[in-house]
Amino acid sequence: MSAVIETKNLKKYFSVPGGVLHAVDDVSISIERGKTIGVVGESGCGKSTLGLCLVHLHESTDGQIFLNGEDVTDLNKRQLRKFREKAQIVFQDPYSSLNPRMTVDEIIREPLILSRRYKKGELDDRVDELMELTGIEERLAQSYPHELDGGCRQRIGIARALSLDPEFIVCDEPVSALDVSIQAQILNLLMDIQEKSSLTLMFVTHDLSVVRHISNSICVMYLGQVVEMSPTEELFLNQLHPYTKALMSAVPSIDIHNPSQRVMLSGELTSPINPKPGCRFKDRCVYATTACEEPQTLEEITPGHLCLCSRVNEINQLV
């Protein structure tokens, strides 16, 4: 299978007072057509930045991005415009990400006009089609975003992202601002659309139950690095990295007879500014030894299951 989107050693550093902030550090991922990758991690671990880099809303510092095998790391204005038709993003906050002065119809229509792909008469049809696909009632076409509820606004965001039939969409915590019943509607909508058009998704979230529901594989990030990557079910059964273990144990269990064993983390989050080489999790890790001072590499432990921990075998008694 060919990867729709692929990154090689992607880096995004920000210059901040006090040094260089490593928001995304050496991330290599690839997503196959029609699949969904879930990116999880705590706040500030760089998962949103990774998503923004992939759709060129941030320019990456180093590394490469490929779309359908083609290098799209550096694009000029015209190439960027073509790229935007293929790679889109759904934003986290459906309240602030829609221009308050544009009607629903105008928001969805704008990318269609910009692409010059549709003739005048076809535009109306395409807008109607998108609204129907995303479940926005037709009577709302001339409404302004502030008149609608959060779920409906996020549908507009999705309709807008889908308008030019992209191949790849980054969903940057698209449901975290919505209440639970609407979260499910939006997730199912995304999955339905994916099924229909074999869309490739990157799903950035910190909600593990959402990831499990929607994604085929999961990528766990910690301080800008991918610490573990694996197919979804495998990861929920069998976590290798100490950080993933702690993260998974934090999911509340509803089974009172068999409560999950919490792995409590102590210590503070290490600063992402000028991080030292070596494992970035070592200060909070119960298994840390001097070996963790060495730079770590992401290795395939079992087929399809990658982990960034030099002591992974000892910790999990795999040998």
Partner: protein
């Protein structure tokens, strides 16, 4: 919508009447005897009494107020200037267009220069463009307008001798008053625009627009500005009303025969009919301009317009059902 406009117009009438009563009362109690100013210091008591009787200022306050209100608002007669012996209405009619043109041109200049400056500063936040605009605004907002005007007269009229320093007659007479009046305004509008645009520069929907593939120039002019400029528009509208009433200093310095100079001369000579006429006209202008500014909101901000539209369609539907 129509009802709202009518309500506001009705309020405007009350504002004008209130302004008339206020200015009449103030002028009644202000010290200074018009009769003495007319006749000069050597007048006899009998002459003074005679003139006072002619002018009607020897009557009781309420009688004077009543006859003033009756003449102004029922007969639409603002009286005759005590000094020029010309009708106040005629004097106003002659001067209003000049002051209006002066104010209008200075607002146009202020907006055309100030708003792009502010936008440029905001889109180049913390770069040299931004710092330049801020310094410009700081300097010209702090320096008094009349001082700038005097410097301009020294430089352009006395040294270079290219622009006239007083009077009216050619377009050249407008240049210096407009320029010296607009500089502070440009600074103010530029600063204000800058802060308004800065608020939306990092808004999420701007990122959305970029993600859609909108070109950067269009992002600024179609997504940022319409959202940022609503408060700027109000500011321009209100500064226009200030221009109509507030050119007194400029008109005095440049001896520009507009409403401002008319008013300030009248105050100096206690020419009550002219003072009242000027104040009433300025109040009416201000009230109507404010109404226009409020109405323009609806067209600038679709959220406000949407309210009106929804209300009227709702009413229409109810009627249809009945």
């Amino acid at each position: 919508m129509l009802r709202y406009v009518l309500q506001r117009l009705l309020m405007t009438i009350f504002v004008i009447i209130a302004a008339a009563i206020l200015i009449f009362t103030v002028m009644y109690f202000v010290p200074g005897d018009p009769a003495k100013i007319i006749l000069g210091p050597e007048a006899t008591a009998a002459d003074l009494a005679d003139v006072r009787h002619q002018l009607g200022i020897d009557r009781p306050f309420l009688v004077q107020l009543g006859s003033f209100m009756y003449n102004t608002f029922i007969k639409f007669d603002m009286g005759t200037s005590w000094f020029r012996n010309t009708s106040v209405f005629g004097g106003m009619l002659e001067r209003i267009p000049r002051t209006f043109l002066l104010g209008f041109l200075s607002i146009v200049l202020t907006s055309l220069v100030g708003i792009p400056m502010g936008v440029n500063a905001a889109t180049h936040h913390r770069k040299w463009q931004d710092k330049g605009v801020i310094s410009f605004a700081m300097v010209f907002m702090s320096v008094p307008e009349f001082w700038v005007a005097l410097l301009f007269i020294i430089f352009f009229s006395l040294r270079l001798n290219i622009l006239p320093s007083f009077g009216i007659g050619s377009w050249k007479n407008y240049v210096l008053p407009i320029l010296s009046g607009a500089l502070a305004g440009i600074g103010g509008i530029a600063r204000y625009t800058r802060s308004c645009v800065l608020e939306v520069v990092h808004a999420d929907y701007i990122t959305t627009a970029r993600a859609k593939g909108v070109m950067e120039r269009k992002v600024i002019y179609q997504h940022m500005l319409p959202n940022a400029l609503i408060p700027v528009l109000t500011n321009v509208g209100t500064s226009f009303t200030r221009c109509i009433g507030g050119t007194i200093v400029m008109e005095k310095i440049f001896s520009f025969p507009g409403v401002g100079l008319y008013l300030s001369d009248a105050i100096a000579s206690r020419d009550y009919p002219v003072i009242r006429g000027c104040v009433i006209v300025i109040a009416a202008f201000t009230a109507i301009l404010m109404l226009l500014v409020d109405l323009s909101y609806g067209y600038v901000d679709p959220r406000i317009k949407a309210q009106y539209v929804k209300q009227s369609t709702k009413k229409g539907k109810i009627k249809n059902v009945a």
